[in-house]
Symmetry: C2
Subunit: 211 residues, 2 copies
């Protein structure tokens, strides 16, 4: 069974990718995979894969490989993918709508139970079957629904005040698509920042190097 | 002046974040910053910051700190942010529209010159002043405009055929928001994959650990 002790942060960072590949393999009905094949998909090495999986249990069998389902379930457990934390999303613009659709569709990690916007034209409409409410209702909604996490899809200048309201409403976990650094202000929050511009700059660097 | 030799990949990964902070400081009219202050913003250490910047030149002065403008410009040069590679975007849905707006607004790395969609209702509309064209026009457009990169914002199942068409049209760099692994098929392409689900799973893990 699982050890789950002392899993390093670099292994943790690789887990979502392993999880994605294993889920795909599972869907394709593939029951076992060798460390070599998995390494090829991960652009890693077989010994790296074996070392990573060795951190949390023994799933491999000599000559047969790893059980895809067992390994997927184990990683799912470690990541907490099935926990479905009650979450709200604020900002029903293009990026907010895309994220809301994805979260609602994938039904992993977050149970999206509320969407908020301050635009009168958006309030009352639906995204993935979830009604868009006025941002005025955030505090009452959070109190009533025991919300764990907030997805921030509003412009940077609106986030400081919003973060304060969400923090006061008991929210300590943020998936942050804005460019405001929530974690700088509050020390006891968990923030995952998405900076798409950083990804573009990394690509730009690689294109530039290649010229 | 700059050394730019042997910059490790971990330093490269930190450069976009340094760049963001330095740009903000520059906008605020701050001329110098110490390694300690920068480290605080980066959630790093002063010695890490000094070591990173030492890789590509000498910009710090004892007691005064680093010149914000000089350092920003240097990093800008390394990343190739001002190169403005001609790029097209395919898929004018919510995520595509959000990305198109951001790329057009920020005017960094990519010069977005074309947007394509197969939806008749979208063709002929504009996003950030750029006309949405039919995907049928991709090949002719790429030939005429010497396009360097493509931003892929279409569903996974549509990417395989699309990637083939873009590859045949000479495109070798991809900013990929789909879940299709373009790099697995073509060996001579540069791909930056954006998997928002991985970011959510990392957040989910941290929430789970914290419970």
């Amino acid at each position: 069974m699982a050890k789950r002790n002392n899993i390093s942060s670099s292994v943790i960072r690789r887990l979502p990718r392993y999880y994605r590949f294993l889920r795909d393999l599972d869907k394709q009905g593939i029951s076992h995979i060798s460390s070599g094949e998995l390494a090829k998909r991960m652009r890693s090495t077989a010994s790296q894969v074996r070392q990573d999986f060795n951190c949390f249990g023994e799933f491999g069998q000599q000559g047969i490989g790893y059980s895809v389902t067992q390994l997927r379930e184990e990683i799912e457990g470690i990541l907490g993918v099935k926990c479905l934390y009650p979450a709200i999303l604020i900002g029903a613009g293009n990026i907010g709508t895309a994220i809301a659709n994805q979260v609602a569709y994938e039904n992993r990690c977050f149970d999206l139970i509320g969407i908020f916007d301050k635009d009168e034209k958006k309030i009352g409409t639906e995204i993935s079957g979830i009604e868009v409410r006025s941002t005025d209702e955030i505090e009452a909604f959070c109190r009533k629904n025991n919300v764990t996490a907030a997805i921030i899809c509003v412009p940077r200048k609106a986030v400081e005040e919003l973060a304060e309201r969400l923090y006061s409403s008991g929210i300590r976990s943020f998936w942050n698509f804005s460019h405001f650094d929530i974690g700088m202000k509050y020390e006891d929050v968990i923030v995952e920042n998405v900076h798409l511009g950083d990804s573009l700059m990394e690509l730009c660097f690689r294109i530039t190097q290649n010229k």
